[in-house]
Amino acid sequence: MPETRFDKAQLLEWLQAVKDPEIPTISLIDLGVVRGVEIDAATGNVAVHLTPTFAGCPAMDYMKRDVERTLLAHGVPAVEVTISLREAWTSDMISEAGRAALRQHKLSPPPVLGNRVLDLDFLEYAECPNCHGHNTELRTPFGATLCRAVHHCHDCRQLFEQFKPV
């Protein structure tokens, strides 16, 4: 039986290095895309479960590949990555560290929804990542990628992107 040199905490630490392919400041773990990590005690093989932020996200194949490469490079004997909607992603799954990472990339993090309904007020609200003002307006719900909306800040008069709440 091969000796397993890593535990789950170690795997999660390694996975922190796997970033969103289009937002290099945020890890897949902080984005909430990694929904489960399991180690087979007998073989040391690892199963990682991912869920897409948006159903049509074209970056999923890259994320899958990056997870596999990273863990294999650390000596995990075999990695199986599955992708499903079993647990549908919501923007509340972005961690506090993830929200800070989005701000660092000048992306406004989505407001925390909690038990509230995703209504128009929610979709239209965003905090400006440049001046942190709230006097902002949704310009278009579709931006450079499926997960981004474009807002305008009336205080600093800049357009900015927001990671959409869903």
């Binding site: 159903a55 909607l85 474009v150």
Partner: protein, 249 residues
């Protein structure tokens, strides 16, 4: 046909075909933001169709690519609304508004489907569809309260598109079982929710909702009877795939 397959094919084919039509705005939008919006919605809808074809694959149907790219028009179950050419922006916007209001309400209802894999997909898609409805509402309200020309064009587009939109709710022989098994609330209930939902938006504009009782819905799509516009679209969509169906792209 099995009620699950019957329902899933209708849902998936609507998404695939409207997704491709929306993508035809890529590079042609009246303003850059609309070019991007229609292209983004196209990407969303192709993603949604992939999820639904994936469910069909899980029920024993062929691979998603095979199902999407190797059938001909009579084997498609989309409504005729989604296959019409993009036309002018007023028509594409009106189609998008009428279709996505129905779609949002449909997937909100499907989130409680007795078929759990479909309910899971619906719980994901409904959040994304809110953005589609929000986008459509914004522009219908803006153009529906703008200049005389804008209002006239939007009204003409609505009058033209509405009979096709009523075809969304065409039922099949499986409808009673779809409802009784708790798969879905049914097309009649969806249509009544939809009429309320679109009326709320029209009341904020100068647009008048025609009396739907007097309109003949464009039926047939759900049983494979399509307009002449679908087959050329399918041929174009599958042109590259059919060069080498076994290629790994």
């Amino acid at each position: 046909m099995d009620p699950k397959l019957d329902l899933l094919y209708r849902l998936a084919d609507d998404q695939l075909i409207l997704g491709h039509r929306n993508s035809e705005w890529n590079g042609l939008g009246p303003i850059l933001e609309e070019d991007i919006a229609f292209s983004s919605m196209a990407q969303d809808k192709l993603g949604h169709s992939l999820q639904l074809y994936g469910l069909l694959h899980g029920l024993g149907e062929a691979e998603p690519d095979t199902v999407a790219f190797t059938r001909n028009a009579p084997q498609f179950h989309c409504c005729q609304l989604v296959e019409l050419p993009i036309g002018e922006y007023d028509f594409s916007l009106t189609r998008h508004f009428l279709f996505d209001h129905a779609e949002l309400l449909r997937f909100e209802a499907l989130a409680a489907s007795s078929y759990e894999p479909l309910a899971q997909v619906a719980r994901k898609l409904r959040g994304e569809l809110k953005y589609h409805a929000l986008h459509a509402n914004t522009w219908v309200k803006r153009l529906g309260t703008a200049t005389d020309e804008a209002i006239e064009r939007m009204q003409a587009a609505l009058n033209f598109t509405l009979p096709y939109a009523l075809g969304i709710f065409e039922t099949t022989a499986a409808e009673p079982e779809i409802i009784s098994s708790g798969l879905f609330i049914g097309e009649a209930e969806l249509k009544s929710r939809w009429l309320e939902s679109i009326a709320k938006v029209f009341r904020q504009t100068a647009l008048e909702m025609p009396d739907v009782q007097t309109l003949a819905p464009a039926l047939g799509g759900r049983r494979g009877e399509h307009t002449g516009f679908l087959q050329p679209l399918l041929d174009e969509m599958a042109e590259v795939f059919r060069l080498d169906p076994t290629a790994d792209w």
